[in-house]
């Protein structure tokens, strides 16, 4: 498997994604600078594209708004239109909504503060390139690290997302139940991750790439479910 990881000025989880996909999970990985409109390396196209976390262009405007208009996003759009799997994590999710590859918006957390902690997610779809190693209803434990992760969409969009089964992850408690405290950033319908209509573009706020090695502080490895699903295509 070949994975291209997009680096914008201000991306800061690109190296973590390289480490997780490459060093830990053994994929062939490379980074693509934002000014490039070509995702391939040595003439080889990637099998998957990652838009990593961070603060693209400083996020001084709306998060992800500038990145959505960078040259590389044209190539990402073309890759997605051709059916290639694209995962946007944290700032990457914000970039995908700003680029209108995914509907909705990520607003400031309900408590108006940055949150770095572990959360529980319920898997709502297990037939996607990102979740095929999971089962529906499975509870994953993954870290979050964001100040703008409160998913918002209008009622019509939400109904469509729900009706089409495009909500992939929801914030739940350890038992898999939706509760107010478990919805850590106040997202509408406790939405933590969604896909596009075709099911090949995923945006999620939690960081699966930070949870592939039990050695690290959280002791979490559930990120392997998401990253491993992408790689076992």
């Amino acid at each position: 498997m070949r994975v291209a990881i997009v680096t914008f000025p201000g991306s800061n989880c690109d190296a973590d994604a390289v480490h997780a996909f490459g060093t830990v999970l053994g994929a062939s990985v490379w980074t693509i600078w934002h000014s490039s409109d070509d995702l391939s390396r040595s003439g080889q196209a990637p099998d998957a594209v990652v838009i990593p976390g961070g603060f693209s262009y400083g996020d001084y405007l709306r998060c992800g708004a500038l990145a959505a208009h960078s040259p590389v996003m044209g190539a990402v759009r073309a890759f997605a239109d051709a059916g290639g799997p694209v995962i946007g994590i944290c700032n990457g999710f914000q970039v995908l909504t700003e680029a209108r590859l995914l509907p909705g918006q990520l607003a400031r957390n309900a408590e108006l503060e940055f949150r770095c902690q572990d959360v529980h997610l319920r898997v709502e779809r297990a037939d996607l390139p990102f979740t095929r190693l999971a089962r529906v209803g499975q509870v994953l434990r993954l870290p979050i690290a964001h100040a703008e992760g409160r998913y918002y969409a209008d009622a019509e969009t939400l109904a469509r997302l729900d009706g089409d089964g495009r909500v992939v992850f929801r914030y739940v408690d350890a038992a898999g139940e939706r509760t107010a405290p478990a919805n850590v950033n106040g997202s509408v319908d406790a939405i933590a991750g969604i896909v596009n209509e075709r099911g090949n573009v995923l945006g999620m706020m939690p960081h699966p790439e930070r949870a592939v090695e039990a050695q690290l502080g959280g002791g979490l490895e559930d990120g392997r479910v998401v990253l491993g699903s992408i790689l076992c295509a």
């Binding site: 800061n12 973590d16 405290p181 502080g217």
Partner: protein
Amino acid sequence: MPDDLRAHAATFGLTPQEFDAVVHKVGRQPNALEAAMFGALWSEHCGYKNSKPLLRKLPTAGPQVIQGPGENAGVVDIGEGWAVAFKMESHNHPSAVEPVQGAATGVGGILRDIFAMGARPFATLNALRFGELGEERNRYLLSGVVHGIAMYGNAIGVPTVGGEVEVNPCFAENPLVNVMALGLLRHDALQKGTVGLPGNRLFYVGSKTGRDGLGGAVFASADLSGSSSSDRPAVQVGDPFMEKLLLEACLEAYAAGLVAGVQDMGAAGLTSSVGEMAHRAGFGVDFHVDKVPTREDGMTPLEILLSESQERMVVSAAPGREAELLALLARWELDAVEVATVAEHGRFKVFERGELKADIPVAALNEPPEYVREGVEDPRVSAARGRDLGDLPDVADPGAALLALLASPTVASKRPIYRQFDHQVMTNTVVVPGAADAAVLRVKGTDLGVAATVDCNSRYVYLDPELGAAHAVAEAARNLSCVGALPLAVTDNLNFGNPTNPGVYYQLERAVAGLARACLALDTPVTGGNVSLYNEYAAPEGRRAIHPTPTVGMVGVLRDVSRRATSGLKRRGDVVVLVGRTAGTLGASEYLYRLHGLEAGAPPPLDLVEEAKVQAVVRGLIADGLCDTAHDTSQGGLAVALAEMALAGSPAVLGLRVDLGAGASAAELLFGEAGARVVLALEEAAVAEALARCAAVGIPGKMIGTVDGRTFEVRAAGKTLTLGSEALRTAHEGTFGVALGVQSG
């Protein structure tokens, strides 16, 4: 009008006598620009004129030291060709005036010091001190400082992995914000803050120069007074995005061999960075001030040379590689302009459109006068230390006392703070905030771990500066040992009052002596640091110094990061073992302060030989895989330490049954404080070995209880303290959630 200049020497931060010294060194009357350059570099912040004679007493050498004091940061060897660059710096005065930007730019500044050494920054810690949290202004400062650290650290993508918070009324007007940063580098990647050789060309890289932060070094070295809120333009504004670009561009340029020397622009801006780089090289510079990119029109040479605008570096290009360097920087969309040429003449010559505006000897600029003063202890302090505590009643309700101590800001859970910090980015954080006495980071591709902590009990230092400072070093080393790391070296941040006050100078002198004694005994040389003087506040009797606070930042190494310990209890049936003496003392204790409102008595005695032995035994047990649970006993004594171990239990809170015996009062046994003391929880099979190792080196070690269910029960001197886990948690978790106005979810 040179004669007028002397009368206005204070404008430049110089005394009339210092002005005369400038005249002598330059060989003529300086002009205003030259006087201002001297004033900035001779400020305490840059020149250490009051502290340097004392700082020379600190041990700075050791086989582990790759770079000692005098560079942008210290560097220690951690093995396998890897090294850690680390340093701590204060942003106290800026944070008092504008807490968000003051703290944010503190983070930005210390990170630049780290990557100026050729290291990739990979963690920060912070040591914060505020007034009591019942007052709204103190909560505003706390919230702002936390927000500022989060804003900068999270955005640039360097994890904030640990820290400490103290609360005392003496810090209300003048909070302390000390930030420590660590970076990782290969030995051969080390960079130096030098201009290199004559003919080398110096490039200005990064943000444009504005009028912000003008005179900051002088500002930092002046006491805060009623006029400080009008000093707002002296506080700079941070741009972590720009710094991220600078960081990546610099590391790429070093790797490509394009850089002969590099330094960030910190206090006193271009004057200090270029002046210090030239001084280290022993050469001079022809500096063209009109080439500097400015943010606004009409800036004078003085404004440009002293501006403290953030996110700027000076790079001396490797000769012949200038074009490549510029191309690389352009790819990162950074402003880069050639501003100076290195010259044999040994002078700092400033030209504006070809006209010579300043011409001063580099050496003189970097050799400020040194002051050795006479210190005299404030009789109020000796009286407080000598107060007889024998008349205090023993603790009546130990359970209530423990809950009060757990809620004390010094002890209380800092989760509402650290959950605002990205502590996991870079995916190296093995021990996260709140889990142990020190943070631990792995070094990818090796078995190595790096541990770091920041420590100071300012009440100890206030009541006995020598002993208190030695305690700060001992506790920092103990914290590292409790995760299994061998302590390697220290960066210190000396936060004191006005040194011309004999009582303050006494504190400074004695505290440095205490640091020196403990650093020698524990083999942790000092590789650098920062001095922040003039930290004081208005008291009814006049200006009064803050509690003297020599914050100790310490770095340690784990040869095998998988062999480590955290403080939370892990298994029912584990045996609780105390290494070190059981009873502590109540002088200067958190118990005395929170339960009796007293800052009095002598801090606990400290036997550094015993301290070293206790720590070595603890490290050995962890390294040999015999122990994975260890916690040092600091503020609040054994009862607080045991409660913290229960609360940090994983995966859930666990209970304890412990008997501390008799032989002292219940208050001393439960809440007395002491050095050279660590609590372990061991599997039963390892207990005999642990006790034998204690006996073999002649230190006390004994079983005091077991890990057992969910009840927390501690007996001492015939009294029994019993509390449920919910009561413990509520007391421990509430304080900062309330102070920051958020739910503790």
